[in-house]
Assembly symmetry: C2
Homo-oligomer: 216 residues x 2
DNA sequence: CTAATAAGTTAGGTTAAACTAACAATATTA
DNA sequence: TAATATTGTTAGTTTAACCTAACTTATTAG
């Protein structure tokens, strides 16, 4: 398992996300057409996304994003949208160029720059009111604990769990604001060993998936 | 021959340019250290740059940029500089992040966006007076005729030749403002067949290198 | 002026992301 | 329901960009 997504793979995620807004079932062929690649290339990419737990799919079946895939796709969508908006509204670049540039820059720009860009757009009142920009900031600056590499240090920003799972995590002492370090990750990403408040914990993947970390 | 440079290859060019400012001889080892890659990777990249007529080098000898390599490197240098300046001065991003982001964005940003960015920096008086920004605009929006793909259409922006060569080109009817189309390019990029003012011309590589085209 | 050190090259691999061509499974439609 | 069309997979290649290990050529220091 690698812990970062290449630009090419990110574009697959983005397209799947887009397609699933409109059509109920996302199919290999649709993705191939949208990205202008061969079907076989899509099959391969989907296998990779599946291995990273970003999509769900069985043989010959349709593709759906996992919780994690949804999150990563949403990050990309917002980066794209915000960069494109900046290019159009601040730099006055043509819509077509803005789209193309945004879809390339989104893969290489840092979180720090994205947050600064949001600040600029906010200060000029260029942001639509229908997006919760505070939520977007958190989305962009956090990662699910379930896809962090061993050794990563960070701070718990939020525990996105309810009911039994939330209670269990609270009991273990997993709370917002705590410093955390990923100790070890088993081959398939399950279980994950972490350190919080000096204690060593072992989490299942679904537990880790609910914990949002701000890497530092 | 391919007609575009990948981000990786562009970074090699940029580093060679940088190193040749300070040291008189640019060596494989220096480039390897700067880019954090193995010497053998540099050897390979240099071969590629040589095939594209961007660097000059003989076995075990030092590396120098060709006229064309110099031009491409300068483009990159200015893109880097301007994007980095924007990130620091307009977005107030830290110097370190600005450097890193600039060195990634420079490879994917369009000319249109770069020109718009320059306009923004100009309007805010953020540009140093020691750079001739009008020259930079021309640099960024043109390509040497010697590295355009067959089929490319454009306009002659400038003929950077003096003496005999200039006279010869003028005689053939190659003048600024003319529309041009690249018809055929021989295997090693020499000679190049073009159409200007309805006439078919055949140019040697060194002649074509002096002609700057704005692609349209 | 040799011997050690440094620099550069070559050979052989690996990984990601494409591709084409051939085939298998599923859906559609007559 | 059988034939046809569409969709998805598999196998085998290709290209770019890296790598390590082994080797060759140049440089430098005694
Ligand atoms: Mn993209
Ligand atoms: Mn995009
Ligand atoms: Mn760069
Ligand atoms: Mn750079």
């Amino acid at each position: 398992m690698t812990y970062s997504l290449t630009p090419a793979i990110q574009d697959y995620l983005e397209v799947i996300h887009d397609l699933s807004k409109h059509d109920s079932k996302v199919r290999i062929t649709d993705i191939a057409r949208k990205l202008n690649v061969a079907k076989s290339s899509v099959t391969e990419a989907i296998e990779l996304l599946h291995a990273k737990n970003l999509v769900q799919k069985e043989r010959y079946g349709p593709i759906t994003l996992t919780r994690n895939g949804e999150r990563e796709a949403a990050k990309l969508k917002y980066k794209h949208l915000l960069i494109s908006k900046f290019l159009r509204d601040v730099l006055n670049v043509t819509a077509d160029t803005a789209e193309k540039d945004a879809c390339l820059i989104e893969h290489v720009v840092s979180v720090e720059t994205m947050l600064a860009l949001i600040q600029l757009l906010e200060s000029k009142n260029y942001l639509d009111n229908d997006i919760d920009i505070e939520e977007v900031k958190i989305l962009l600056s956090t990662n699910s604990l379930s896809n962090l590499a061993p050794g990563t240090k960070g701070t718990i920003k939020r525990v996105e769990a309810t009911g039994e799972l939330r209670r269990r995590l609270m009991e273990m002492g997993v709370t917002s604001g705590d410093d955390i370090q990923v100790k070890r990750v088993a081959p398939m990403g399950d279980p994950i060993e972490i350190t919080v408040k000096g204690y060593n914990l072992t989490l299942r993947k679904n537990e880790a998936a609910a914990i949002l970390i701000e890497i530092n």
